[in-house]
């Protein structure tokens, strides 16, 4: 077993997902805990060399990249084969990955190939008897569990925003090393026929501020929808105006827009925005819940936010129990006023 920690950097078109650098930060923490182990990163896909180059500035000691025609699009089997091969060669103490969709999947696959186990979606790491003792949430954050992996390498995925991104040191640099693809095209069982990027914006998992709306966002009798809409369409139209208003507030704060399941199920906003047990679990610095009652399944997705603000007409809404600040009132008058007030104070 070498004295190395391997970090997989999840990237898309030459840009690392922010959670990847956080995983690198967690990796550096582990090299320190292990008393000066070295930190190796692996990046795969198109333009992975650029990202591997950046990794030095984030603190990597060594950076490997795999750029090959068969790896141009992410395909789980092809990427997992590269990761597994590198992990076999390096025999690291631990492999860290961000808990992104790709990171989770690659961790899952390599745990089988490497006959080890995963410490999945962890929020804290320490060392005990030479092994990583990780903390993770279970039952949607209603309980915590300590977990240990008894095999090597210990495969770990880090939860977004749970670990600090290392500070960039522009003075550091290095030469990334290329590693080859492992599977030939004929051995890859899948083919990407097309892909479509969603409309940009800040992704919920990475957002420092989230402004979320619930069923209450449709509740503005003063808005008159264009003629020709039936009741359901008019309701959705109203809600969409409301979500635009929440978008303005999020815009001033550089944040993202979230939603309750009720809002998603009613067709007000796409599922990608759903926060909660069956949506995304988020922990921004600031979470502003507008017209959300605060059902236990919604709380499961946002309760670890640093500061929670609730705006709701109903003083009895359970969301107020979680909130640092609460306002009882109509979101349609309060949200635009808050947007203005913050715009002034932030000089935007």
């Amino acid at each position: 077993m070498s004295n190395k920690i391997l970090v997989y950097i999840d990237q898309y078109q030459g840009t690392a997902l922010p959670a990847s650098w956080e995983a690198l930060g967690a990796g550096r923490m582990l090299t320190n805990l292990y008393g000066g182990a070295s930190l190796v990163v692996l990046v795969a896909g198109e333009r992975s060399k650029e990202v591997a180059g950046q990794a030095f500035q984030y603190g990597a000691d060594e950076a490997l990249f795999a750029d090959h025609a068969t790896l141009a699009d992410y395909r789980a089997e092809a990427y997992a084969a590269v990761l597994v091969k590198v992990a076999r060669e390096l025999a690291p103490l631990a492999v860290l990955l961000p808990t992104t969709l790709r990171g989770r999947e690659l961790a899952a696959m390599s745990a089988i190939d490497l006959d080890s186990g995963i410490l999945a979606d962890v929020t804290a790491l320490e060392l005990q008897d030479g092994k990583v003792l990780a903390t993770r949430q279970i039952y949607a954050g209603k309980a915590l569990s300590k977990v240990v992996c008894d095999a090597l390498p210990q495969i770990i995925t880090t939860r977004g925003r749970a670990f600090e991104k290392p500070t960039v040191d522009p003075a550091r640099s290095g030469a990334p090393t290329q590693v080859p693809a492992v599977l030939a095209e004929a051995d890859i069982p899948t083919k990407i026929l097309s892909h479509a990027a969603a409309d940009g914006g800040v992704s919920l998992g990475d957002a420092a501020v989230i402004v979320s709306g619930g069923r209450g966002v449709a509740n503005n009798p003063n808005l008159s929808p264009p003629t020709g809409l039936d009741d359901k369409q008019a309701e959705i139209w109203r809600a969409q105006q409301g979500f635009k208003m929440l978008g303005d507030l999020a815009g001033v704060l550089g944040g993202a827009v979230g939603a309750s399941r009720a809002a998603v199920d009613a067709g007000y906003i796409p599922y990608e925005h759903q926060v909660g047990q069956t949506g995304k679990v988020v922990s921004p610095n600031l979470y502003i819940a507008c017209g959300i009652s605060g059902a236990i399944q919604h709380q499961a997705g946002m309760r670890s936010s640093k500061v929670i603000v609730a705006i709701n007409k109903d003083p009895e809404a359970p969301i107020f129990k979680l909130a640092r600040f609460g306002v009882v009132g109509d979101l349609y008058t309060l949200v635009p006023a808050l947007t203005e007030a913050l715009r002034l104070r932030l000089g935007k």
């Binding site: 997902l17 997992a80 003792l133 279970i138 300590k146 977990v147 026929l193 969603a198 499961a300 007030a341």
Partner: protein, 257 residues
């Protein structure tokens, strides 16, 4: 065509979880089929209707998990099997995947195995990819739509971090589905009656012909989350502008922006 669905029984999402003396309990909250797995069952049944397939549903768990299997039968699955063995107590996801893979192989040549996105108790979201890996089959995760399916090929749409992709894969394959696959159907009256009478066989590890698969993950401690000491401050005022001004000042004073 043969399709298999893997489901887990979990405590209801509204259950109040209590940790006491290192043990987790959820009072008298009902155990249900993992909500994500209802989508997996739905996805399988859509294909059953489209291509005339048999749908077997399997679960690794305690005897009580037969209730979840019965729900799946009532929704329209053709066959259900419980995999239960005392040696699986404390099994990790790797051991679970090896067990599921053995059961899938014992069930005979299947073209597709459906999984839910993740189990709402352990929140892992890895079992589909791991089972695929043990089987040596491709893993198509977070599928939102099955575009086409024929004897040796499937085309699906799946969610990625950046948007959506359309992907073609060889069969057999493992598919995990998200919410976009379509709302799970309700069990029919006939289905419920049939399921109530169904006899669900239980397979042990010996029946699967495997040794106890190794688990590498341990859980030395479970805890309640730290209690958040929140004093809620209600902001009031004579106009939305006044309230908003106060609230904005308070938010800025928290220094989180």
């Amino acid at each position: 065509m043969k399709i298999i669905v893997c489901i887990k029984q979990v405590p209801d999402s509204a259950a109040r979880i209590v940790v006491e003396g290192g043990q987790i309990s959820w009072g008298d909250a009902p155990a249900i089929m993992n909500p994500w797995d209802e989508y997996a069952v739905e996805a399988a049944l859509v294909q059953k209707d489209a291509v005339d397939a048999d749908v077997a549903v399997i679960s690794v768990g305690a005897e009580s998990a037969k209730e979840a299997l019965k729900t799946a039968l009532a929704m329209g699955c053709t066959e259900a099997i419980l995999i239960s063995d005392p040696a699986l107590a404390g099994a990790d996801s790797q051991a679970l995947a090896r067990t599921l893979a053995a059961a899938i192989q014992k069930l005979g040549p299947a073209e597709l195995v459906f999984f839910g996105r993740q189990a709402i108790d352990t929140d892992l979201g890895v079992t589909a990819a791991q089972t695929a890996r043990v089987l040596g089959w491709p893993a198509l995760t977070l599928v939102s739509k099955v575009d086409s399916l024929d004897g040796n090929k499937i085309t699906v749409e799946r969610s990625t971090e950046e948007g959506r992709q359309v992907l073609e894969s060889k069969l057999p394959a493992v598919v995990s589905v998200g919410k976009d696959i379509g709302e799970p159907r309700y069990p029919s009256f006939m289905g419920i009656r049939k399921a109530a009478k169904a006899v669900i066989p239980t397979w042990s590890l010996a029946d699967l012909g495997i040794e106890t698969p190794k688990s590498h993950i341990r859980w030395p401690a479970v805890m309640s989350p730290p209690v958040r000491d929140i004093t809620t401050e209600m902001i009031t005022g004579n106009s939305p502008q006044e309230i908003a001004g106060k609230l904005a000042d308070k938010i800025l004073a928290e220094k989180v922006l």
